[in-house]
């Protein structure tokens, strides 16, 4: 028997009642219930946005205290604060779709995002080589063999027979990958359902921290 405080019981009740109302809306076709579910979801969208704002404020306060106390590598925190406040001021004054906000998005955020995706290529290739070096077993070889077939079958290489590789790639994607991916997706769905139900029943209480 788990001993719960009055506060814990209150929190679990809030979670369970909210969850039951929303879940009932999925499976019971009652107009009152559907309307109540829509109102709760509307409030949740607003509160999730406020929670995200709390997260941003927390991030900024942590870096602000690092700069104030002049901790090690506080120069990076200063960079975060400067870039944050420039974006915030421009966005607050002119809105997120103004040409100045879009300038920041197009010439600062987009090049960094694309470059990060670009260096992922180098990191993935290095990781594949390292895996083959450290774990040269059957599964590693199958993994890399399939990856090479899919890649070579997708792009056209002049000296290779294109239709054969494309057919091999299509067969791999249509049969074993469909089956494997379906197993993984069903597994993820089952895990999600189990975790969600644990939260709704109060076995896991992430809101207490």
């Amino acid at each position: 028997m788990v001993n719960l405080s009055a506060k814990q019981i209150l929190l679990i009740s809030i979670t369970a009642v909210t969850g039951i109302v929303i879940l009932s809306g999925y499976f019971i076709d009652d107009p009152v219930l559907i309307n109540l579910r829509a109102i709760i979801l509307q409030w949740t969208i607003i509160l999730a946005a406020v929670a995200l704002l709390v997260g941003v404020i927390n991030l900024i306060s942590v870096h602000f205290s690092k700069v104030i106390t002049r901790k090690r590598s506080s120069i990076y925190s200063l960079v975060i604060l400067v870039s944050f406040f420039i974006t915030l001021i421009v966005g607050a004054l002119y809105g997120p779709t103004n040409h100045l906000s879009l300038w920041i998005f197009n010439y600062v955020q987009l090049p960094i995002e694309t470059s990060l995706l670009g260096i992922t290529a180098v990191i993935l290739i290095l990781a594949a080589i390292r895996m083959l070096n450290r774990r040269p077993n059957t599964l590693s070889i199958i993994f890399l063999f399939v990856a090479v077939i899919i890649m070579v079958g997708t792009v056209s290489i002049p000296w290779l027979e294109p239709s054969l590789l494309a057919e091999a790639r299509d067969w791999i994607l249509r049969i074993p990958v469909t089956g494997g991916a379906r197993g993984i997706i069903i597994g993820i769905a089952l895990g999600t359902i189990a975790t969600g139900l644990r939260v709704l029943m109060g076995a896991d209480r992430p809101y207490e921290n």
């Binding site: 809030i14 369970a16 969850g19 929303i22 879940l23 999925y26 979801l41 409030w43 949740t44 969208i45 509160l47 946005a49 406020v50 929670a51 995200l52 704002l53 709390v54 991030l59 925190s77 975060i80 400067v82 870039s83 944050f84 974006t87 915030l88 809105g95 997120p96 906000s101 300038w103 920041i104 010439y107 600062v108 955020q109 987009l110 090049p111 960094i112 470059s115 990060l116 995706l117 670009g118 260096i119 992922t120 290529a121 993935l124 599964l139 199958i142 063999f145 399939v146 890649m151 791999i172 049969i175 074993p176 089956g179 494997g180 379906r182 197993g183 997706i185 069903i186 769905a189 992430p206």
Partner: protein
């Protein structure tokens, strides 16, 4: 004058983009100051942009706007005042001493989020995937296909074996063996071995997809760098 301004802001943007791209690409030589500068600029800009988008797309139109244009209806007042009070309580999470006032609101968000995710997983993922697995053996669908029936049945069986063995691989219930260490049943272990093969094939295909996407981004960035340098030196 505005044309000159546009040209100069675009030129400045290209130079800023070039510098930031080179900062991020410097990671190829290992973790360094330039890469960290680029990453921290990215964190700051993203956090600022998120704050602005949240304010303009959610909080202003869905909370502050309707309150400022309240029509006098009590029902609407209740619908608006509750999220406002809950938002204020949630904002108290910023202050460590008052953060416990935000816990009921977090419980509300977690409850709504968990139920939405469970509902979405059942209706949007679990049932469609099970239906797709059943439909593989639907005679009507098989008859409408141009492929040979026996070939379709073999392929469908192969897909079903892949699905089941992959699922069984994640079955981690085990009993202690004679030495006391946990071990899965022999049948489960054998099927899990087949599942491991299909997982390796699936992850290989996913790896190829991600690698192709990142190579495209890598090529696009190098194309950008080279074209900027060519235009600077008028080549």
């Amino acid at each position: 004058m505005s044309l000159v301004n546009n040209i100069s802001t675009d030129l400045l943007g290209v130079i800023v983009g070039l510098i930031l791209t080179l900062c991020i690409f410097s990671y190829i030589f290992g973790d360094n100051v330039l890469f960290r500068l680029g990453i921290n600029i990215f964190i700051g800009v993203t956090a600022g942009y998120i704050a602005v988008v949240i304010w303009h797309s959610v909080i202003l139109p869905q909370l502050i706007g309707p309150i400022s244009t309240w029509d006098g209806s009590i029902t609407n007042f209740v619908k608006l005042i509750i999220p406002l009070i809950l938002s204020i309580l949630l904002l108290l999470k910023i202050f460590p001493r008052l953060s416990s006032f935000g816990s009921p609101v977090m419980a509300f968000i977690v409850g709504a989020g968990a139920a939405t995710i469970v509902g979405g997983a059942v209706v949007g993922t679990f049932l469609p995937q099970i239906t797709a697995s059943i439909n593989l053996f639907d005679p009507q669908i098989q008859n409408s296909s141009s492929e040979l029936i026996w070939l379709l049945i073999i392929e469908s069986s192969f897909i079903l074996i892949a699905t089941l063995s992959t699922l069984i691989y994640f079955h981690f219930s085990a009993r202690p063996n004679s030495r006391g260490s946990p071990k899965r049943a022999a049948l489960i272990e054998t099927i899990a071995g087949i599942g491991r093969f299909f997982i390796a094939v699936t992850f290989g295909a996913l790896f190829a997809g991600v690698l192709l996407a990142s190579i495209s981004a890598f090529v696009e960035r190098w194309d950008f760098i080279i074209s900027v340098f060519l235009s600077i030196f008028h080549l």
